[in-house]
Amino acid sequence: MRILLFVSGFAALLAGAALFTPTPVRAASCCGGGTAIGLVVPKFARAVTDLSADLEIYDGYWNQKKEYTSDPPKSDLRQYRLNLGYGRRFGQKWQGGATLPYVWNENNYSGLKTSSQGLGDASLFLWYDLLEERQLWLATGAEVLIPTVTIGTSLLLPTGISPYDSEESSFDVTGRGFYRLDGNLLIDKTIKAWNTSLTLGYGTYFERSVNREYGKAVAPYHKKLGDRLSASASLGYRYFVGTGGDNLTGTIGYAYLTEAEAEIDGISDRNSSFSKQSFSGTLAYSSTDSDWSVRGAWSHALKKDGWGENFPVTDIYTLGVRYVFR
């Protein structure tokens, strides 16, 4: 549900592409699901494709007072996602692509077991290479400080199962049901074996009409979700394995996500805003020519007061593989 939490700058660049690891927004089956990832095609490549699998385990939530609250006893909530992404260059500086998740919800809630699956929310994205950092040995003076800056936009498509479809259970939800347009900024800097990146995203949802809730017809109304802000920072280190050029990259990251209050028929819904902070670690192995790479990632939210508001606390485990077309 669903937003870009960018965590893996360095590893991705080494493999020739910046991969944005997703974090779900209200991805719990209670609150909507689906994922959105973005791919950045490396400068001298033609295209990139990425396949990843996520396991997200829910473990409580932060309430409206930002207090950590545990789930009901005997609860086991999980969401599995298979994410397919493809991006390609359209010119020297332009590139675009799409991502499409497929979602499985597996829930055991107070003894009630449910299982459902379906498409998540798809994303289309467009990037522009605004600034390119120079290789260290070619840079002179202050040029060594210039980072790579990429700006872009993405459009979230409501292809998932939302609360406004004919599905009758909240456990079946895999998407949010709204279009969203984001503006994104990626700043990345590599110095020798070290890399750091900063990403910012700001999105606004399009208002829609609603005449059904969980399959039940209701009096039509208009709803608009609140604007969304996401930010993340990461630090990575590359280590060469053996003498062949294969390398292993470790990256740690921090991410912040918040969404403002929704509006229903123009009236604010004070129950709907939320925020989340999380930390992540990524380990990526890429081949000598960096065409192939595999990665594992762990995104962790702290089960403590003050680290989120009105949002589920989850751990996300990711395994992914990527191929760059030259």
Binding site: A28, C30, C31, R46, A47, Y61, W62, N63, T69, S70, P72, P73, K74, Y86, R88, F90, A98, L100, Y109, S110, G111, L112, L119, A122, L124, L157, P158, T159, S162, P163, D165, S166, E168, S170, G177, F178, R208, S209, V210, N211, R212, E213, Y214, K216, A217, V218, A219, P220, A262, I264, D265, I267, D269, R270, N271, S272, F274, N310, F311, P312
Partner: protein
């Protein structure tokens, strides 16, 4: 040629995603599709006689529809699974709705409760043990089935046993409007 393949792939994905119910979100409708019910029929729809129920609250007290309605202008059944959305709705109701309607009784229905004991523990975890809500343990999901309810569903039944509202809590505005209109 590659661009053509790429475009075709996108079109295919979009077409696939537009199949069936997903199209409801891609092209939302604003037509009123609510069914009309005959007066005097029993069901969870607005205007119908509320289905009778008998459930235990978390203090092991038996609650049925006549007991719940006794002495009140109406009752509210809020269906919870103790999630963040539910907490948002319930805390909003506690702060902004209940104080304005002292003659209405509010029930939180744990429709996923495995037992009365588990419902009590869940309510305690979420901080609603001694709140303004009476917590019902819908162990057999009788209420959820009869009222076609899921997470966040909010039902208002007036003192004569007629359903006045059956929809998501949203921002609480509709609930307050409905309660204000109770006879």
């Amino acid at each position: 040629m590659s661009s053509v393949k790429f475009s075709c792939l996108f079109l295919l994905l979009l077409l696939l995603s537009a199949c069936g119910e997903i199209a409801d979100d891609l092209t939302p409708s604003d037509t009123d599709q609510r069914p009309t019910f005959e007066t005097g029929t029993t069901g969870g729809g607005v205007g119908q006689n509320a289905p009778p129920f008998t459930v235990m609250d978390i203090n092991n007290t038996v609650i049925d529809l006549p007991t719940a309605l006794a002495g009140n202008r109406g009752i509210v059944l809020y269906f919870t699974m103790w999630c963040p959305v539910c907490d948002g709705h319930m805390s909003h109701a506690l702060a902004y709705v209940m104080p304005n309607f002292p003659d209405v009784r509010f029930f939180a229905v744990d429709y996923l409760a495995g037992s009365v004991l588990l419902a009590k523990e869940a309510a305690s975890n979420a901080g609603y043990l001694n709140s303004g809500f009476t917590i019902l343990a819908d162990v057999n999901r009788q209420l959820a089935r009869d009222y076609n309810a899921t997470m966040g569903t909010t039902i208002v039944i007036d003192s004569s046993g007629v359903v006045r509202m059956n929809e998501d809590y949203r921002n609480g505005v509709r609930l307050q409007t409905t309660l204000s209109a109770l006879p």
